[in-house]
């Protein structure tokens, strides 16, 4: 996996903002185009969204409604499932754990990733390409494959059933993608800026903190959001590391809740939709950066 393309961030992330100058000429933009296209697009969207709506709307029904007509709409709408979940300490405890793990992982990934990407992008030394290859090779070591020995290492470190036991490996496994996204990005910062900073008396580290950090902020935000969502959704690692319910993150919580309340489908649906909501909100706020950053990374 290399990322030696032309500045993926700027080229692709800017695109969603400027759809005007696309295929064809400007006069075409005003037209509505082929109705078949809209039909297929709407069908596709419906298929994508329907299961999500089923979960969210199902939470507003009662169990007897769900049994009588599994695919029906709420009649009447009940909010008790949602309010019960929102009043439970289990949900908020797991929410807090997910939040702590997500923020700590994202911060760790961003800070460590920025450090090593800066070295790879802006220093010239013999082991540079070996260093890049090391991290790029990490893409071939998915978390699932390493999980058994990872569990043993975490156990030997005494971190089993603790949040750092999830956070630290997540940081490590988040680094390859981060390096691949950030290196081309940091390399695109013009050399003139660095020279100017040097002339003004800034050291290379000073340049790193005063210029690189602010200039690479968009890339850093992309990486941070991806890391946060990845952490929020991670299942295998918490499954191995966390044993007591007080330490569960939301994915484990959803699974535990749905097996404990397997007869109470409505409540399970309410719990599930509340658990996915933060990631969805986060995504819709930053969707341009995520979609742009991802496409940029793969283009590279």
């Amino acid at each position: 996996m290399s990322a030696r393309t032309v500045d993926p961030w700027f080229s692709s992330a800017a695109e969603p903002n400027a759809p005007v100058n696309r295929r064809g000429s400007g006069e075409k933009a005003a037209k509505w185009g082929n109705p078949v296209t809209y039909f297929i697009a709407l069908l596709f969207i419906a298929v994508c969204i329907a299961p999500v709506l089923y979960i969210v709307i199902g939470g507003f029904r009662t169990n007897s409604q769900i049994t009588d007509s599994p695919a029906g709409l709420p009649h009447p709408w009940v909010v008790s499932n949602y309010s019960n979940v929102l009043k439970s300490n289990t949900f908020w405890g797991e929410f807090a754990n997910s939040l702590i793990v997500g923020v700590a992982s994202a911060l760790g990934i961003v800070i460590l990733g920025l450090m090593v990407s800066f070295v790879i992008a802006r220093y010239d030394f013999k082991l540079k390409s070996a260093m890049y290859s090391l991290f790029a090779a990490g893409l071939m070591f998915p978390l699932v494959i390493a999980i058994t020995p990872l569990y043993i290492i975490i156990k030997d470190l005494g971190l089993i059933d603790s949040l750092p036991g999830v956070i630290i490996p997540q940081i490590a496994f988040g680094l390859p993608t981060t390096v691949i996204i950030l290196v081309p990005f940091l390399r695109a910062i013009p050399k003139e800026i660095e020279e100017a900073a040097t002339i003004d008396g800034a050291s290379r580290l000073g340049f790193f903190f005063r210029m690189v950090m602010p200039l690479s902020l968009p890339g850093v935000v992309t990486v941070g959001i991806l890391a946060f969502i990845g952490s929020w959704n991670n299942y295998v690692l918490p499954l191995y590391i966390l044993n007591t319910e007080a330490n569960f993150t939301l994915p484990l919580g959803v699974q535990a809740f749905s097996s404990q309340h397997s007869v109470d489908t409505a409540k399970v649906l309410a719990f599930t939709s509340l658990a996915m909501l933060p990631a969805l909100i986060f995504f819709s706020i930053f969707q341009k950066r995520i979609v742009g950053g991802l496409t940029g990374a793969v283009k590279g």
Binding site: S2, R4, T5, V6, S12, P19, R22, G24, A29, W32, I40, A41, V47, C48, I49, P51, I55, T67, S69, P70, A71, G72, L112, M115, I120, R122, D124, S129, M131, S133, L134, M140, F141, P142, V144, I145, T148, P149, I152, I153, I168, A172, F173, L175, P176, V183, T198, I229, Y235, L269, A275, M276, A279, L280, F283, S284, Q287, L294, V298, K299
Partner: protein, 335 residues
């Protein structure tokens, strides 16, 4: 991987890539040189030391450790003493259960490529036209990809129960004869899984393809239009060939993802039902035979086998499929 996403990249390579390939400080400015190599080494060590340490300790080392424990019969506590040589590997490769999960994993890999690839290309070409609400469409089709696999599994699991919403809906549509036990029926289960996988990941593929399409220069389409080519002719003769690199990279990502599939199957079927329903994967086998059975040596050996299979498949893919995209990348330096 490569940047051969259009003819215009050749100029980009000249203007941007080459000078930077050698690193920012190739002809080191005098100021830099004066500061001395020692200080630079110190900076490199300070900045790259901690990330490399964390990465090696928690990504590379576990894999090495798995290779080590794979030679032992070991319950997961105390030092591993019972050396069994290649016995674990012999057991894995001759275990019919493993052959079965290997087949499932390869099937999932092949079907993912065959289903999602054409579908994503078609949808991306369709959505790449000048239609209204493009950015909204983009966000909505990406939603399944953002939701965690646990939630996807829980939601779909409930919908597809024999008395669930899917069968109820079929009844309402007058298709009651199509009602099925989507999850437990061994003839159907793998297709149910494929449907859920396609639902979850095709949006990601479409977004990638859309990005690939946008890097094809407009001039090519305009020229073809002037020459009187029809819309679908243009797609077949110009778009598809130029979209090739994006499709091939998506293929690699899809392959690596398929071979390590775990969460969805584990949530919907669990480690026992997945065996009888015919949806268990290599990762499910690893967890069931390894940690759940308390055989950490054996589980480690399964991890090594999984890694080797993924590695070989990825390597073959790179050699056979990605070769032309990578041409030049090696000589110009990956970095």
């Amino acid at each position: 991987m490569s940047d051969t996403l259009g003819t215009d990249t050749a100029t980009d390579r000249q203007s941007q890539g080459t000078p930077e390939v050698g690193g920012a400080a190739k002809p080191a400015p005098p100021a830099v040189r004066r500061r001395g190599r020692a200080k630079m080494r110190l900076e490199i060590a300070v900045l790259s030391g901690p990330p490399i340490l964390v990465f090696v300790a928690f990504v590379i080392f576990p894999v090495v450790l798995a290779a080590y424990y794979g030679f032992y019969r070991w319950q997961g506590y105390g030092p591993a003493t019972e050396w069994v040589g290649l016995n674990n590997y012999r057991l894995i490769l001759t275990d019919p259960a493993f052959q079965q999960v290997l087949w499932h994993s390869l099937l999932i890999m092949g079907l993912s490529l065959a289903i999602q690839g054409p579908l994503a290309i078609f949808l991306a070409i369709l959505l790449n036209q000048n239609i209204r609400g493009r950015s909204v469409i983009r966000v909505l089709i990406f939603v399944p990809f953002i939701i965690s696999e646990v939630i996807v599994g829980t939601g779909w699991g409930l919908m597809l129960q024999s008395n669930g919403a899917a069968n109820d809906l079929l009844g309402h549509l007058g298709l009651g004869s199509l009602r099925n036990d989507w999850i437990a029926d061994p003839k159907l289960a793998i297709w149910t899984l494929m449907a859920i996988i396609s639902w979850k990941y095709v949006g990601f593929a479409v977004i990638l393809m859309l990005a690939g399409l946008q890097s094809i220069p407009d001039e090519l389409f305009e020229a073809a239009q002037i020459d009187g080519a029809s819309y679908w002719q243009i797609q077949r003769r110009i778009t598809l060939p130029l979209l090739g690199p994006t499709v091939r990279i998506w293929g690699l990502l899809s392959i690596i993802g398929s071979l390590q599939l775990f969460d969805l199957v584990f949530i919907i079927w669990g480690q026992y039902v997945s065996g009888t329903a015919g949806t268990s994967t290599m990762a499910i086998y690893m967890v069931a035979q390894g940690r759940s059975a308390g055989q950490f040596g054996y589980g480690s050996a399964v991890a090594v086998v999984m890694f080797l299979i993924s590695f070989i498949v990825a390597l073959l893919y790179q050699r056979l499929v990605l070769r032309r995209d990578l041409r030049g990348a090696v000589t110009e330096g990956v970095i």
